[in-house]
C-alpha cells in the first residue's frame, strides 16, 4: 500500500463520516420541523377549542 492509498482512505472515511452526520442532522432537523409544525397545530387547535367552549352569547335563564 502506498502513502497515496492511505490519504485517499482517510479522505473517504472523513467523507463518509460527514455524510452520515449530515444525514443524521437532516433527519433530526426534519423530525424537529415536523414536531414543530405538529406542536403549532396542537396549539392552534387548543385555542380554537377554548374559543368555541367559552365564546357564547348570553343566554336567557328560564
Amino acid at each position: 500500500m502506498s502513502d497515496a492509498d492511505d490519504v485517499w482512505g482517510c479522505v473517504g472515511g472523513l467523507l463518509l463520516i460527514i455524510v452520515v452526520v449530515t444525514a443524521v442532522a437532516i433527519a433530526v432537523m426534519a423530525l424537529m420541523s415536523v414536531g414543530s409544525i405538529y406542536g403549532a397545530g396542537t396549539a392552534l387547535r387548543n385555542y380554537g377549542l377554548a374559543f368555541t367552549n367559552n365564546v357564547k352569547p348570553e343566554t336567557v335563564t328560564p
Binding site: G35, S36, G39, A40, T42, V55, E58, V60
Partner: protein, 478 residues
C-alpha cells in the same frame, strides 16, 4: 346612558360577557397547551430509551412539546389581540349607537317638553319605571344603553323597546318615587300644571270641576282638541261632580290636603297630546305652611289661580251685614283671611321650592274673586261694571285693562291694599277676574249650577303656557 344599578336585562355581549369570555378562552387554551406539552414530553421520555426510530420519534415529540409552548404563546398573543380588537370595535360601535339614539331621544323629548309627573306624589322625573309585560320585572332606566340600542332583552327573554321612538310608552309604568301606576300621558305629553289656591270654602272644587267641564264640553271642541281622561278614577270623579252640580248640589268637600292631580288629556289630530294637571288642595292645607311642603307641583307651575271669597273680607261682610246672616249658610264664607292664604303660598315657595325671598314669580297669577252671584256684586265688580268702565273711559280702554283696574281698585277699597301690593311685588304677570263657580247661591230647589267666568282665568294661564290653548276669546259676562 350608563346604568348605575344593574337592570333585570341582558347586557350587550360587548359590554360585559365578551371580556369574561376572552379571559376564559386564554385560561383554557393555556391549560390545554400545558396539558398537550406535558403529554408530548412524557411520550418523548418513554420513547427515548428505545431503538433509533423510537429515538427519532422521541425527538419529534419533544420538539412538538416545545413547539406547543412557544407557538401556543404566539397564537394566544396574536388571537387575543384580534379578539380584543373585535370586542373593542363592537363596543365602540354600540356605544356610539346608543349614545346617538339616547341624545336624539333626549333632544326630541326636550323639544316636545315631555317628562314624567306623578299625579299622586307630584314627583317630576325624566322617565318612569317600566314593567316587563311578561314577567313584571321593573326596568328603572329603559333607555338606549349597554343593554341595547333600540331594544333590550328582559331576563325573562321578553324584548322591550328602549326608546320613545319604538313606542316604549305603551309599556306599563309606575312612579319611581311612590309606585303609583302611570299612564303614557303622564310622560309622553306636553303638560300644563295649574293649582287652584285659596282658603277653605272659597269654592276651589266647584271652580276646578266647572272649568274642566267647560273645557271638555265647550272650549276643547272650539280649539279642535279631543278631550279624554287618562284614568278611569279621574273620569268617575268628574262624572260624579258634574252630576252633583247638575242636580244643584255643591261638590263634596275636598279632604285631601295633598291633592291628586285631575288629569285631562287634550289632543289635536296629528299633534302631540296635551295633559292638564289641575290641582285642588283642601283649603286646610293653607292653614299651615308646613302642610304645603309635599305639594311638589309648586316646583313646575304653569301658573296659579288664587281664588278669593269676597265674604272673607271684613269690609264686604260689613257692607252686606244686613242681608248676610240670612244666607250665611248658603254662602259658606271662608274663614281664612285672604292675605294669610297668599302669604302661606309664598312662604311655602320660598322655604321649599327655591323661590328667593323678594323675587318675582315669572308664572302668571290669576286673582279670581268668586261668588259674585251673591247680592249685587255682579253689578259692582262683574262684567256689567267692566263694560260701564270701558264705555265711560275718555280714551279707548281694553276690557282686560278695565277689569284689572276695577278689581284692583275695589280690593284696595276693601282695605286689601296690602294684598294688592304683595301680589304686585311678587308676581310679574297678574290678571284679575271675577267668577261664580256655582252660578247661583246653593238652595233647596235642585236648580242646576252653571258656573260663569271660570274658564277665562284658566285659559289665560294655559294659553300663556302653551300656544295650543291660545285663541281669541271674547269675555263672557260673569
Amino acid at each position: 346612558m350608563s346604568t348605575a344599578t344593574p337592570e333585570p336585562a341582558i347586557k350587550s355581549y360587548f359590554f360585559g360577557k365578551g371580556y369574561a369570555d376572552l379571559r376564559s378562552t386564554i385560561v383554557e387554551s393555556w391549560q390545554r397547551n400545558l396539558a398537550s406539552a406535558q403529554s408530548e414530553f412524557t411520550q418523548a421520555g418513554t420513547l427515548w430509551p428505545g431503538d433509533y426510530p423510537a429515538k427519532g420519534l422521541a425527538i419529534l415529540r419533544a420538539t412538538a412539546g416545545t413547539s406547543v409552548v412557544l407557538f401556543g404563546t404566539a397564537v394566544f398573543l396574536l388571537f387575543s389581540v384580534v379578539h380584543v380588537a373585535v370586542l373593542l370595535s363592537f363596543f365602540l360601535l354600540i356605544y356610539l349607537g346608543f349614545t346617538l339614539v339616547y341624545l336624539s331621544e333626549r333632544g326630541y323629548l326636550a323639544i316636545k317638553q315631555f317628562f314624567t309627573v306623578c299625579p299622586a306624589c307630584h314627583s317630576k322625573r325624566p322617565l318612569p319605571d317600566y314593567f316587563c309585560p311578561k314577567c313584571g320585572a321593573v326596568h328603572r332606566r329603559l333607555i338606549p344603553s349597554s343593554y341595547g340600542i333600540l331594544h333590550r332583552t328582559c331576563q325573562c327573554g321578553q324584548k322591550l323597546p328602549s326608546t320613545f321612538f319604538l313606542k316604549r310608552g305603551e309599556l306599563p309604568s309606575k312612579c319611581p318615587d311612590c309606585n303609583e301606576m302611570l299612564e303614557a300621558g303622564h310622560t309622553e305629553a306636553r303638560k300644563a300644571f295649574l293649582p287652584v289656591f285659596g282658603g277653605p270654602s272659597v269654592g276651589k272644587s266647584a271652580f276646578l270641576f266647572s272649568a274642566a267641564r267647560q273645557i271638555v264640553e265647550d272650549e276643547a271642541p272650539k280649539l279642535g282638541l279631543q278631550p279624554s281622561f287618562l284614568e278611569a278614577r279621574t273620569e268617575s270623579d268628574y262624572q260624579r261632580i258634574c252630576q252633583q252640580l247638575s242636580q244643584g248640589r255643591t261638590p263634596d268637600k275636598t279632604l285631601a290636603t295633598l291633592p291628586r292631580a285631575f288629569n285631562l288629556k287634550l289632543q289635536k289630530a296629528g299633534q302631540s297630546p296635551r295633559v292638564l294637571y289641575l290641582y285642588d288642595p283642601a283649603g286646610e292645607a293653607f292653614n299651615e305652611t308646613e302642610g304645603m311642603i309635599l305639594h311638589r307641583y309648586q316646583e313646575y307651575l304653569s301658573g296659579l289661580v288664587f281664588l278669593i271669597d269676597p265674604f272673607t273680607i271684613p269690609e264686604v261682610r260689613a257692607e252686606y251685614s244686613d242681608r248676610l246672616p240670612a244666607v250665611e249658610n248658603a254662602l259658606s264664607p271662608s274663614k281664612l283671611p285672604v292675605e294669610d292664604a297668599l302669604s302661606r303660598i309664598l312662604i311655602s315657595l320660598e322655604e321649599n321650592f327655591g323661590l328667593v325671598r323678594g323675587e318675582q314669580l315669572k308664572v302668571p297669577l290669576a286673582v279670581v274673586l268668586n261668588k259674585v252671584d251673591a247680592f249685587d256684586l255682579e253689578q259692582r265688580i262683574g262684567e256689567p261694571a267692566v263694560q260701564a268702565r270701558v264705555k265711560s273711559s275718555p280714551t279707548p280702554l281694553d276690557p282686560e285693562k278695565a277689569r284689572n283696574q276695577l278689581l284692583r281698585e275695589q280690593l284696595i277699597r276693601w282695605d286689601l291694599g296690602g294684598l294688592v301690593q304683595q301680589i304686585e311685588t311678587r308676581f310679574s304677570r297678574i290678571r284679575y277676574f271675577t267668577c261664580s263657580s256655582l252660578g247661583h247661591m246653593p238652595d233647596a230647589s235642585g236648580r242646576a249650577f252653571e258656573a260663569r267666568g271660570v274658564l277665562e282665568p284658566v285659559m289665560w294661564i294655559l294659553s300663556a303656557a302653551d300656544s295650543a290653548f291660545a285663541a281669541a276669546r271674547p269675555r263672557k259676562a260673569a
